[in-house]
């Protein structure tokens, strides 16, 4: 029996994990989701993947958002079930000064590279990740460029990063 309604998915999660699950957010079936306590994210993910009737067998996207005003970095998990064709979104908030979230690479191996991308661009440390390295930027790149307070370096290995405009003003 498939649980296709996001509200029903949320109710199942609430009954199993209690206070670790936040309120249901989002109005459409394709963007509805909830926040999850950082300590419970791996268990919630494993439950969503293995529970009969939920079967979220695909982690379609794992990304991160920087919110300087709220002083958090949010890691967003977009889940999809190929069997039942339904979606659900999980969000985990991490403190901005030292963001650390448990890795879900043990649940979906697709998370491995996507967590590396979030680590690379936003500096979130994923605990338990098998191989947490930069994936896009050079190994010796300073900082994490998708943070809102990232300042572009003046030069990189002697290559200046600015160019004078050819247009005369």
């Amino acid at each position: 029996m498939a649980v296709s309604d996001p509200a029903a998915v949320h109710a199942v999660l609430r009954s199993h994990f209690g206070d670790a699950i936040g309120d249901l957010a989002g109005t459409r079936p394709d963007n509805a989701g909830t926040t999850v306590a950082p300590s419970a994210i791996v268990e919630v993910c494993r439950f969503l993947k293995t529970e009969t009737g939920l079967a979220f067998d695909c982690l379609s996207n794992l990304s991160g958002v920087d919110y300087p005003k709220r002083n958090i970095i949010e890691v967003v998990y977009h889940l999809y079930s190929y069997r039942y064709r339904h979606l659900f979104v999980l969000k985990v908030e991490a403190p901005r000064d030292n963001p650390a979230v448990s890795s879900v690479a043990g649940v979906w191996s697709a998370a491995e590279w996507q967590e590396r991308e979030v680590f690379d661009l936003l500096g979130v440390t994923f605990e338990g990740h098998p191989d947490l390295r930069r994936i896009l930027m050079p190994e010796d790149w300073p900082g994490h460029p998708l943070r809102k307070d990232f300042v572009e370096p003046e030069e990189y290995h002697g290559i200046s990063t600015s160019r004078e405009s050819l247009l005369k003003t």
Partner: protein
């Protein structure tokens, strides 16, 4: 025979230069170096319709036998270092065509944190081909311009010595 003996020496060396340059410009082997969407146009230029081969330019898979590197596409800072390594591996004389807006100045992406705005910050460029991306005709024109440049080069003429040297 008497013509050679009576002709000025300079005229003769110039002709050898012309001959050498003609052979060099007719066998410009370019390295396969596709970075972004411009690479698709470069493939078209090498393909049967535009057919860069008719100018003697053949694609090579390694920098060590290449005369020309066509930088086709957005150059990231990460790739810029590798581009320098590839350029250093090419034997002299070597030439660079910067193809498209991105390679010329960073183009659409020049304000991005990861993009090197212009390949001329890393290696010297001989011909800039504008366009986003340039059509195969434009790249062919770029190669012809490069051939004109090669034809003008002088290798055998002794450089004038300064009077007080």
């Amino acid at each position: 025979m008497s013509l050679i003996n009576t002709a000025p020496e300079m005229a003769l060396t110039t002709k050898i230069d012309d001959f050498l340059n003609w052979t060099r410009k007719s066998s410009v082997w370019y390295m396969l170096f596709g970075l972004a969407c411009c690479a698709i146009e470069m493939m078209q230029t090498g393909g049967p319709r535009a057919d860069l081969d008719r100018f003697g330019a053949a694609p090579r898979a390694t920098p060590r036998v290449s005369d020309l590197i066509i930088v086709s596409g957005t150059l990231t800072l990460k790739m810029a270092l590798r581009t320098k390594v590839l350029y250093d591996q090419m034997p002299d004389p070597k030439y660079v065509i910067s193809m498209g807006s991105c390679a010329n100045c960073g183009g659409l992406f020049q304000l991005a944190y990861s993009v090197c705005d212009g390949v001329d910050k890393v290696i010297p460029v001989d011909v800039y081909v504008p366009g986003c991306p340039p059509r195969p005709e434009a790249l062919t024109e770029g190669l012809i311009k490069l051939q004109e440049k090669i034809q003008q080069e002088r290798w055998l003429v002794r450089k004038p010595v300064a009077a007080n040297a």
